[in-house]
Each structure stands twice: as structure tokens, then as C-alpha cells.
Symmetry: C2
Subunit: 492 residues, 2 copies
């Protein structure tokens, strides 16, 4: 807290790591690659959860819970999915420890407690869920199945970073089953739109909606829809994905239904998820060199009030006024904290609340009491204003809305200024190196070209935007035919 | 659904298993010992979570999230705790699968991906959390730490039963750290009281508050407080526990703080939890031979309205009246469903809603429309009444409260009628066999006697009730001195 953060332009990656830890969002644990989400970070995640959960229920979904473990034979049933996750699976092989005869006080794995079949700790739950759906679906009347799960999953990553890539992370995963292909595609698109609404309106992060190329598609899906955001360092971040699974899992797990004509068919599936990765996107979209900047919708504390006083008498006068203000703000549903800690100076508190991204800070000293005013500071712009006591509740409530909108618009401007059209590979490399951001370019549609570009530049195709223009062109790399531009970027 | 449930008096255990599955609460999964919590069951669990979470926050706690895995060396640091859970640990030993060269399309554990140190899937999180608290606590100003986690845990049970004992279950676990012993004990008692309030007022299940004997104490605790409920078959069920951990984990993980006098001390700890086991208690306390009986507080649907009609005209008339009623009830926060499924008969629907425990069923037919009435049926008493349209909203809203209270009082009567004082071991065995329930008896205070009684009768000491009278007596088994009665029972 006393030390300043590394500046973004000095070392963006270090700035991020320092900020996540010093703002009390999360920290590395004593378990390789796993993080501890601290209370302040978790309170933000809870706000995301509550809003997403509301949106899922509003679109007809129910929550359920499926096992953490997947037996190996079940895991490998859908081959592409299994292949896609096989290299990053944590595997349970034993079910008991015993005292180590050679080391008093120490335990060892009991070799007599080996499992007959290994259990995979779920990296994603399609396998376990579709093996269950088999028994839940007989007739068209049982469809659609619209289910979501809030859960932890494990993917054994070699290089981890808090929130962005951790061995264990928290997420929600929707898994739905439908009678027709059309319905399943509608669901896939609906949930991509729910994610886009949430990320844009609630998190104030603009996104591009699009479709992944075959290379970047979810293992086991026929099509992956995604929303892509742009971070302040010009790197892209995949903020959510929604997969049209075709009949792949239905066939792998033999999930059939009798249709209205009495004929047996395989059902059509979707799955969709967002994770604690969104916490990383939140930090990297809005925050600055002084610390977190939180959109009011996500701030555990929206308004903090800091009293400035030299003696008890002054404090008592301030308290009288502030108690009133706190009550009025709470009535409007504003989350407000009166910071009365008496061992810390106002300056220390100001720094701390800036670091933690509290959207509005109100300072009150003896002069304010005299004048009937408050000093109101915005975290996002770091500007201050003196506001009369009379209109203050209205002012604060409007300002919270204003900040939410301003943050979105600021990020949108940045994003829009960082979509660059290029028409040659030289230009492509130049923009990638000197400006970064999304690069809009023609591509010949082959995985081969995509991979070569990735090998040479580390940039990948983030998506084929849903709203792209039909525009014939020449692939910047191969010179082959293209029917429209795609978005490339380096990505988290 | 078409088949009737086994009757409770025929086979209570079978009745329970059938009911949990047929009421769509949960089912066994394809993973040994792990259950799938189905949407209807999960909706009830979500109501429990929401209320508990509110109560935890009201008492000053914040949520956080700690890793699923515990490295073996960390796990074994607190020896008693490690010993207590060692025999039921799922253990991750490898982090990658590879293609099986001998079996095309199959995967095998990659022997080259063995972990240097095995990871225990958390059976409880004291070890990982206290290893983290070490860095969070320096001074008395950092205390108390009041943290809760909602999580899944794994305990490798050999004999599992839906909700009551499963290899994986969902729970919350509070973990707090305090500057003084007195504060830690206060916290332990506070959380036991929170649990008791929740289980009694929200779940309508009466409990006895008490302290566990050394035999039944949590591994690593100095004292375990508990709330004990009584099921309809006369067996007890531990509904929640709150542990005073002394300085055991603080010492094992070297968690010290500088007190106000500048001296280093180990902190004092507590932990407390309730789990999806409460779902089992809910089922076994209130339900009957026709299915679930849910207290209105926990019912995902509190009121169901079934239309009875022969033609579209009749349905349209009914719908007009019902739409009004639905709106009015929703305004009061009542969760109501108008069951318009047109391929099912009213009788089928009645059975289904009875099976699923919907507290109030309203039936409306053409005669009711004529007379301006509704037929209102209570699930708990299976009684019906004709109620005039005019007062119906008020009637329903009162009835929900009435049902909530009646369920508690009914369970309380049963429980109170099943606490039997005995003064000899013969009497003890007789009551245990012929009446069951809690048996209040004198005990000499030794683990030896407790274990002998357990070996002979399968009954254990459920708790030393907090409100027990000081009453000198003679141990029913050993004849030794006793200072007050304890509660024995067979238990889940």
C-alpha cells in the first residue's frame, strides 16, 4: 500500500500483477497455479454472479449441480473434447492416505487404495452432464433442457496469472439440449447476447461479437460464438464463449428423444460459460496507475465518506451531517461506507480508496460543515467538486450513473481507435508492433494461413465479427481470395 | 411418478431414497458416491444459501475463495486434523492424460506427468486457509478475520446416500481468527446460534444445541458445538457444527500477531459449516407417504393453481380470474405457478404437486367461477377448504405463515415426545429398540464407556445439551459418577 504501483507504460504486466494483489482482489496460494480470491475481489465476483444468475433465470434456465469428477471412460467418450483437454487434466488415482512408516508424523499415499478407474477433475462438464442427460430425455416433451451450473473447474496450466489463467477457476457453465438444430443455434446466439449485454452494460466493457475460426473453436463444438474485449495494452481478451455442439455429445452419450412423429432422434446441444477471468478483464479495461477503477455496478462500496477533523468536537459535528447522508443514500440502494478509522490520516485513506477503486469519495471537514457543502471526488477522472448539502443525494445518485456510462464510453473510444484496417502483411506487422489492438484484415479462410501468421507474429484470429461487411478481398498473407475481414490480435 | 412410494413404516430408508429421486431432488451419478443435484433440489438449496449468506453477512462475515487442492505437506501440518481425514481423501497424483498406444481412441494417465507432491482434494479447508492467514495477520488490527467460503468438498465415503453421505458435497465453511480465546469462543457460540435460528425458523426443524464429546469432536478442534435434529424414524441427524479450534491451527501454521502491548501471540480460531446434508434433514423431518412436504420458506413454488375445465371457453373464464390472483400473489412476494399444461389431467397434476411438496394447491373449476370461490388444499395436512374470491389473497398469505409454523410445531411435538429419560442400561436398550429418539441418560464422562455403549447398541452421544440441568447421577452403563444427563441416539 505504501509503495506506488509500477506504471502501466513502464510494464503493463507487472502493473497488473501488483494491482491485483495490492487492491486485495486475489493472491497466489501455496498450491501451484491456484489463487486465493480475497474478500474484496470475491465481493465483486458475487455482484457479477448475482446479475448473470438473474439474466440466466430470466431466459428460462435453472441451476443444478453435477459431480466434480469424471471417470476416464466417460471423459474420453466425446473424442475431440477429450483430446482438447487431455493435456491439462488433474487426475485422482487414489482415495486414502496412511501413516508413512519411514517418516513419523508424515503421511503417504496408500498404495492399496488405488482407484479401479482414474477420475478426471472436471476441466469442463460436458461429459458428465451429457451422460446424465441420457436419462433425463425420452420425449420431445422433455426438451428443451435449460440448465446452468456454478462451479469450480481445473485446467493444469503451466504458466498462470491471477484471474487470467489459473489452474483452478470459478465459472458458470450452461448446458442445454434441444429438439432441433435451429433451436440450439438460437440458444447459442441468445446466450452470446446475454453475455454481451452483461459485459457491456454491467461491466462497462465494450465487446465485439463474433464466431471463432476452426482453430480457436471449443473442442467438441461445431461452432463457437464469442465476445472479445480489448485491454489497455492493445491485447484482446476473450470474455465469454457460447458453443453450438451440434449432435456431437448426444451421439457420444446416446442422448435420443422421440419426436412428435414418434421417431427417435439425437438431441442438439449447446454450452456456454464465463469465468473469474472476467475479473482480469475488469481490472485491465478501466484501472489506472493509481489503482483500480470500478464501474459503480460492480463496486462493493460505491461511495466512501472520509471525515477530516482535528478534535472530537469537530468529528461529532461531521458525524451528525454524515449520518444523515448515509441514511439517505442507503435508501436509494447506494452502498456507502463512512470511514471512521481513527488511527489513519485522511491522506492515507484517500490513497487506499483510490487503490481499491471506490467510484465516489466524499470528504467532509469543519469548513464544509460551516458552508453546508461536501467535497466530492470521482475516482475515474480524479476530479473534485464542491457540492451543496441540499442537492447532494441527487447529485451522487446521478454521478454514479454518469460514471458507469463514462467508463463504457471511454473504453469504447479506446477500442474503436484500436481497430485498424490493414491490406498487407507488412502493414499488419507494423500495426501489431507499434499500435497493437484489433487488426481488421482479409484472410483466405484456411487454418494453415492462420497458423503461419500466429507462428510469425503471435497474433491469432480473435473472431469473424457477426456484423462484418461482405467485402471481397485478398488475404494479406497468402494472397488468396477472402469474402470479408476478420479481427486479428495478440490475446490473453 | 406413476408408482406409489414405499410407505415410511414399511421401510423408512427405502421411502427416503425413492422420494429424493422421484421428487426430482437428486440422483446418483455415473461417478461412484457422487450425486447430481437436480434443478428442483438445487432451487431449494439456493434458498437455503441465500438466507444463510444473508445471516453470515449480517454477523460481519465476508465470502472468499480458497483452492480446491491441498498439498500433502500442508495437509499434514495439523496432525490431528490430518489423521482425522487421511482415510477419506481423494488424491491427485498426475496432471496429464495421453493417448493409450495399445488402445486406439482411449486415453491413459501419462506416467511422465507425475506431480512432485500429491494434492489432496479438500475434505475441509482449515489447512489451506490457515496457511493463507499466516500472511494476512500481523497485528491485532488485522483481527478478527471473519471469512466464509461456499464450496464443494470431497470425503471418500464407502457407503453413500443421496444428500446424507456423498463423496462430494456442497457446503459453506466459516473460518475465523481472533485475538483472544474469549472472542473465539463467542464466535463459535454465535455461529451455532445462527445455525439454530436458520434451521428452526427457516427450515422448521427443531434442534437441540449442545457440545460434542471428545469422541465426536472435529479433528483438530478443542470443542465442537452442534445442533442436533430428530428424524421421523427416531434417528438423530447432526444439522450443523461450530468448532472452537483453540490455537491448534495457528500453531501448526505459525499464525501470530502483535498484540496491543507489542507482544507476539498465536491467534485463536474457529470454523463452522453446514452442508447439502440439510436437504436430507428437510426431507426426513416433514415429508410423508405421499411425497415431499416443504416449509413455505423453502418451497421453490409456494402456491400452484390447477385449472379444471372441459373446453376452451371454460379455460378462458378460469384464466381471467387466475391471472388476477397470480398478479396479486406475486405482488406479495409469493412464488406462484399456474399449471396450464394441457396434456395432463388435474388428478395427475395433484399427485405431482403433492409429490413435490408444493405447500398450497388452488383448484379452480367452472363451479368455482360461478360461485366466486377457490378450492384451497394444504399439502401438510392434506385438507381442503372453499374460500371466497374476495379474501383469497389475504387467506393464502396467512396460510403460508400458518403452515410454516405448524410444520415446526408438529416436528417439535414429535421431537419432544421422543426425548426419553432412562435410568438403567436395560431401560436404555428397551427405549432404543422400541421407541428410538433421543435418550437422556447419565454418563460417567469417559470415552471408554461411550465406545462400549456404541459397540453394543450403535447409539452414540449426540451432544451434551447446553441447557441441561445440573443433576448428580449414576452412569447407566458403568455406575460411575455423572454431573448431568447427555443425549444418546442412533444417528445418520
Amino acid at each position: 500500500m505504501s509503495k506506488n504501483l509500477t506504471k502501466r507504460e513502464e510494464d503493463y504486466s507487472r502493473w497488473y500483477n501488483e494491482l491485483v494483489v495490492s487492491a486485495d482482489l486475489a493472491e497466489n496460494s501455496g498450491v501451484r497455479g491456484c489463487m486465493v480470491i480475497k474478500p474484496y475481489g470475491y465481493a465483486i465476483w458475487e455482484k457479477m454472479q448475482a446479475e448473470l444468475d438473474r439474466m440466466f433465470k430470466e431466459t428460462g434456465h435453472s441451476n443444478a449441480y453435477f459431480p466434480l469428477f469424471v471417470p476416464k471412460s466417460m471423459f474420453e467418450a466425446e473424442e475431440k473434447n477429450a483430446e482438447g483437454f487431455a493435456k491439462e487434466c488433474a487426475i485422482v488415482t487414489h482415495y486414502r492416505l496412511k501413516n508413512d512408516p519411514d517418516k513419523p508424523g508424515k503421511l503417504m499415499v496408500d498404495p492399496n487404495a488405488k482407484l479401479e478407474e482414474e477420475l478426471i477433475v472436471r476441466p469442463t462438464s460436458e461429459a458428465i452432464i451429457w451422460s446424465t442427460y441420457k436419462n433425463w430425455v425420452q420425449s420431445y416433451r422433455d426438451l428443451p433442457l435449460l440448465i446452468n451450473q456454478w462451479a469450480n473447474v481445473v485446467r493444469w496450466e503451466m504458466r498462470t496469472r491471477l484471474f487470467l489463467r489459473t489452474a483452478e477457476f470459478l465459472w458458470q457453465e450452461g448446458h442445454t439440449a434441444h429438439a432441433t438444430k435451429v433451436e440450439a443455434i438460437e440458444e447459442t446466439e441468445r446466450m452470446m447476447n446475454v453475455y454481451a449485454d452483461f459485459v457491456q452494460n454491467f461491466m462497462a466493457i465494450p465487446v465485439v461479437k463474433g464466431i471463432k475460426t476452426a482453430n480457436e473453436r471449443f473442442a467438441g463444438a461445431d461452432e463457437t460464438y464469442c465476445i472479445e474485449a480489448l485491454m489497455q495494452d492493445g491485447k484482446a481478451l476473450q470474455a465469454g464463449t457460447s458453443h453450438f455442439l451440434g449432435q456431437n455429445f448426444a451421439k457420444a452419450f446416446d442422448v435420443k428423444f422421440t419426436n412428435k412423429e414418434g421417431k427417435q432422434e439425437h438431441v442438439w446441444g449447446t454450452s456456454w460459460g464465463v469465468s473469474t477471468r472476467l475479473m482480469g478483464a475488469l481490472v485491465m479495461t478501466h484501472s489506472d496507475d493509481k489503482g483500480l477503477v470500478l464501474p459503480p455496478n460492480l463496486a462493493p462500496i460505491q461511495v466512501v465518506i472520509v471525515p477530516i477533523f482535528k478534535n472530537h468536537e469537530q468529528f461529532d459535528q461531521i458525524k451528525l451531517v454524515v449520518d444523515d447522508l448515509v441514511q439517505s443514500l442507503k435508501k436509494l440502494g447506494v452502498s456507502v461506507k463512512f470511514d471512521v478509522r481513527d488511527t489513519l490520516s485522511p491522506g492515507f485513506k484517500f490513497n487506499e480508496h483510490e487503490l481499491k477503486g471506490v467510484p465516489i469519495r466524499i470528504a467532509v471537514g469543519p469548513k464544509d460543515i460551516e458552508n453546508g457543502t461536501f467535497e466530492i471526488a470521482r475516482r475515474d477522472t480524479l476530479t473534485k467538486e464542491i457540492v451543496s448539502k441540499d442537492g447532494v443525494v441527487h447529485y451522487v445518485s446521478n454521478l454514479l450513473e454518469q460514471i458507469q456510462n463514462d467508463l463504457f464510453n471511454k473504453a469504447l473510444d479506446y477500442r474503436n481507435n484500436h481497430i485498424t484496417e490493414v491490406n498487407s502483411f507488412e502493414e499488419f506487422k507494423d500495426v501489431l508492433e507499434n499500435k497493437a489492438g484489433f487488426i481488421s484484415a482479409h484472410w483466405d479462410g484456411t487454418s494453415e494461413t492462420e497458423e503461419k501468421i500466429k507462428d510469425l507474429t503471435k497474433a491469432t484470429i480473435r473472431c469473424i465479427p457477426l456484423d462484418r461487411k461482405n467485402e471481397e478481398g485478398i488475404c494479406i498473407f497468402s494472397g488468396g481470395q477472402s469474402v470479408g475481414r476478420v479481427l486479428f490480435a495478440k490475446a490473453y
